[in-house]
Amino acid sequence: MAMKKKRYALVIDSRKCLNCKACVVACKAENKVPVGHFRNRINEERKGEYPTLSINFEPEQCHHCDQPSCVRVCPTGASWQRKDGIVLVNYDECIGCRYCMIACPYDARYFNEEEGVVDKCTFCVQRVDKGEVPACVETCPSKVRVFGDLEDPKSRIRELLATRRYKVKEPQTGNGPQLYYLL
């Protein structure tokens, strides 16, 4: 029997994000991200004048786009995409030219000086391939991120996207980002 097609994605309920940084540290440990670099982050938007104020947090990482511009520009094929949509860097083939970092509309990549390669969120493939969820998804106190397979009609993310309003960031790039932000 042929393997069923998969398409991994994240649905993010930013309103529940407390900016506690648990996801950032969990990623750091899981993926051995060097100090000073991050594979995920929490954007902050602070507005208003005392006492009419607002703060919004927005977790962000690689959008694992359908048409990833990073893969398109990579001269060596180091940046590549799996059939399940996960965009990866093959560190053996990366020459550290960093075109992909410029091509990414989301600033999702960083340059690892020590290894001379570009690195980024992998959706924790090592966990996902064992049937687990990415570290950022699991550790979150308020469960901001929901990870799942868009091809699975019974998945929680399909349900959320069918019943809630959402947006993607920078849709005009044509990259087809797969981080869905609930409104």
Binding site: R15, L18, E30, Y50, C140
Partner: protein, 728 residues
């Protein structure tokens, strides 16, 4: 203010500069880049219990080739709700921190000079025991002070102090939640939990629950509020993350929360919106309350709190309408003002009259679980009474915990008797107590200071001997029952062997005890202790279960209403919930909460207020490299209006001075604070050079905070300090 995010243009600018570096680093590409690749064979998963804060969350340590690679949340713990916060995740770096104390050390230079001689454990124990014996000889055992903070092995340290004969065991509650515990305890005879999962209306005074993480309250409340199951009203002089997520935020005038609560009581009683049946059946003193709060009208409270009377009235009505599922959340942070106890009592009374006691979505008395006890040889009670004279000064307070600030006053004055030895476990009085110069004086007058800690805290830096404890991931601890709405029992077991020459606290205690001739009292191993505790757990094959799972919870179900039977006797004098407390009256306190105005800062000064962020709570976390990178330095929040008046610009260094000290710190000019307050985070400006990331970086709040305490509980009052701010 704009959006803070990584700037791609910044990269483009720096890319040119590092072009040369690219060639050099390409060498790295030929190397096999090991990322998350390992063989399954040498991977182990060991359940344990986090120790980075007192929440006791369950974690599963992933160990690869003898190294801790990662901590994952353990979903079996009903309180930690399948999560691990930033601090919990960063516990890996607590073990592999290059700043850790790696072997016992004895001071050779002057105190605080940082000259240490590494010694063997035998030498360290001999030295400690000799010094303690000398003090005992000269001043009696009461001449020693045993200070510790919350932890599974804290009991061994306290036991050593007691077996030594000292009455002066001082714990953390009077730097933490003593006033909350005493206020709720006085009213209900017990301190309840708050059912945030099911509450429909929550009011919080300053308990910044979305940054100061408490399990399961933080997770339950954010879910409820964001899914519109609950409404959150939040009072705080600062626009915190909790304020940002709340339905309504009021930047209340500091120190006036009690006026807000009393006015709510006034409205709810005047409009007969209280739960009459509950009040009639279970409480004492409602009529006196009704009479007492008549004076506290919403219009009066508006002047005190700066919250419009119409909002107070509306909130009171909404709160009463939510009834048994309305909560005025207690919080568990430290005291703010000298009347803190009465403010917490008023909350407890407000909760009482809407009848939320032991109800789904209300206050719920904690359920517990039985566990076995290891029976050890008992010692005689100390002959001397406590140096802090708790029984005279704070007759209702928990004497066994001590009253830290009063204790410091008495030790400094030498009355009622001299205290010349100070043993410290896992605590940093230099940063945990206000007025660091006083703590320093206390250090100076000690003949001997011994510190047991994981890292070189500021207190350890000024010690005579430092005894390094193994990190929680390197040791096995006693079993801990976590009472609550969802009671659980947790177990902390060794994940890796100690990587340095450190010992678990029990072995340190035993080493000292042996040389003091007290071995008989500590004649057991941690395994024997734990086995005894496993015995009475209501779990089949308890030892096997706890080693395999690390946690056990009775069921996921909460049980409500167990105390709601007419013959239930509350553990109070009258056996009822005491709105009016005779016990308070007998001891010279107000039997009902009376409002007293808090002094407000003069025009040229600000009130210094404190708080936390999600990734730092305790002073010992700011030197953790995985947390430190979120905030390399603390700063002083100041509103733009007074900042402009004082000519202070964002990022300027300023001097912050109180009557007891001055600190130099960067200004953060922000709209997110009242113009009459300034705020700073805790845990920076360290004096210890072995806290290399935060040594002399930023400022310590302890330097400028003045000494004040809540009158009833003796709990340190941290918001009573006025400061001057000027360009440095």
């Amino acid at each position: 203010m704009g959006t803070i995010r990584m700037d791609r243009r910044l990269f483009l600018k720096t890319a040119g500069a590092t072009a040369g570096a690219v060639a050099a680093t390409q060498v790295g590409c030929f190397k096999y880049f090991k990322k998350g690749r390992s063989t399954a064979a040498d991977t182990k998963e060991i359940p344990t219990t986090c120790e980075l804060c007192p929440n006791k969350c369950s974690a599963i340590a992933v160990v690869e080739g003898g190294f801790i690679r990662k901590l994952n949340p353990n979903p079996e713990n009903p309180k930690s709700r399948d999560m691990l916060c930033a601090r919990g995740n960063a516990a890996v770096m607590q073990v592999y921190d290059p700043d850790r104390i790696k072997q016992p050390m004895i001071r050779v230079g002057a105190r605080g000079e940082g000259k240490w001689k590494p010694v063997s454990w035998d030498e360290a124990f001999d030295y400690t025991a000799k010094k303690l014996a000398e003090i005992k000889e000269k001043y009696g055992p009461e001449g020693t002070l045993w200070a510790s903070t919350e932890g599974f092995q804290e009991k061994f340290f306290m036991n050593l102090g007691q077996a030594f004969g000292s009455p002066n065991i001082v714990r953390h509650p009077t730097l933490c939640l003593a006033s909350v515990n005493l206020a709720y305890g006085t009213t209900f005879g017990t301190v309840p939990s708050f059912d945030m999962l099911n509450s429909k209306y929550v009011i919080m005074s300053g308990a910044n629950r979305f940054e100061s993480i408490i399990t399961p309250d933080t997770m339950d409340l954010i879910g409820s509020v964001m899914e519109r199951k609950a409404k959150l009203v939040y009072l705080d002089p600062r626009f915190t993350v909790t304020a940002a997520k709340a339905d309504e935020w009021y930047p209340i005038k500091p120190g006036s929360d009690l006026a807000f609560i009393l006015a709510m009581l006034n409205v709810i009683i005047a409009e007969k919106r209280y739960h009459k049946d509950f009040v009639d059946t279970y409480t004492l003193g409602f009529d006196q309350l009704a009479e007492h709060v008549k004076q506290y009208t919403p219009e009066w409270a508006e002047k005190e709190t700066e919250i419009p009377a119409k909002d107070i009235i509306r909130i009171a009505r909404e709160f009463a309408d939510a009834g048994t599922r309305a909560l005025y959340y207690s919080g568990r942070r430290s005291s703010w003002y000298q009347n803190d106890f009465q403010m917490r009592r008023a909350q407890a009374i407000l909760n009482t009259i809407v009848g939320n006691w032991d109800q789904m979505g209300g206050m719920v008395p904690n359920a517990s679980l039985p566990k076995g006890e290891f029976l050890f040889m008992p010692w005689d009670d100390p002959k001397a009474s406590r140096v802090d004279e708790v029984k005279t000064n704070f007759p209702l307070a928990a004497a066994s915990d001590g009253a830290y600030l009063k204790l410091r006053e008495n030790v400094l004055s030498g009355k009622p008797y001299p205290v010349k030895g100070w043993m410290v476990y896992k605590q940093d009085p230099m940063n945990a107590l206000p007025d660091q110069s006083k703590t320093m004086k206390m250090i100076e007058q000690m003949d001997f200071i011994g510190v047991i800690d994981l890292q070189m805290s500021d207190m350890a830096w000024y010690a005579d001997v430092v005894l390094p404890e193994s990190a929680y991931l390197e040791r096995t601890d006693p079993v801990e029952v976590m009472p609550g709405i969802w009671p659980a029992v947790v177990y902390r077991q060794q994940v890796v062997k100690p990587i340095h020459d450190t010992k678990p606290n029990l072995e340190i205690v035993q080493g000292i005890a042996k040389r003091l001739g007290l071995s008989d009292y500590f004649d057991y191993t941690i395994d024997q202790w734990v086995e005894a505790e496993f015995k009475d757990l209501p779990i089949p094959m308890a030892a096997e279960h706890m080693k395999k799972h690390g946690v056990w919870a009775a069921t996921g179900e909460a049980h409500y209403g167990k105390t709601l039977t007419p013959d239930h006797r509350f553990v109070t004098k009258s056996g009822k919930i005491e709105i009016y407390s005779e016990r308070l009256q007998e001891n010279g306190y107000d039997p009902l909460p009376v409002y007293t105005q808090i002094a407000q800062p003069p025009a040229d000064r600000f009130r210094l207020i404190l708080g936390r962020v999600g990734y730092f709570t305790h002073a010992n976390q700011s030197n953790n490299v995985w947390l430190h990178e979120f905030m390399p330095e603390n700063d002083l929040w100041i509103n733009p209006v007074p900042a402009a008046r004082l000519g202070i610009k964002h990022g300027d260094f300023v001097n912050v001075s109180s009557s007891v000290g001055t600190a130099r710190i960067k200004a953060r000019v922000t709209e997110e604070i009242r113009p009459d307050c300034v705020f700073m985070l805790h845990g920076f400006g360290k004096k210890s050079k072995m806290q290399s990331l935060v040594y002399n970086v930023g400022a310590s709040d302890a330097v400028i905070l003045e000494t004040a305490w809540d009158k009833v509980s003796g709990n340190a009052a941290f918001h009573e300090t006025f400061v001057k701010v000027s360009n440095a």
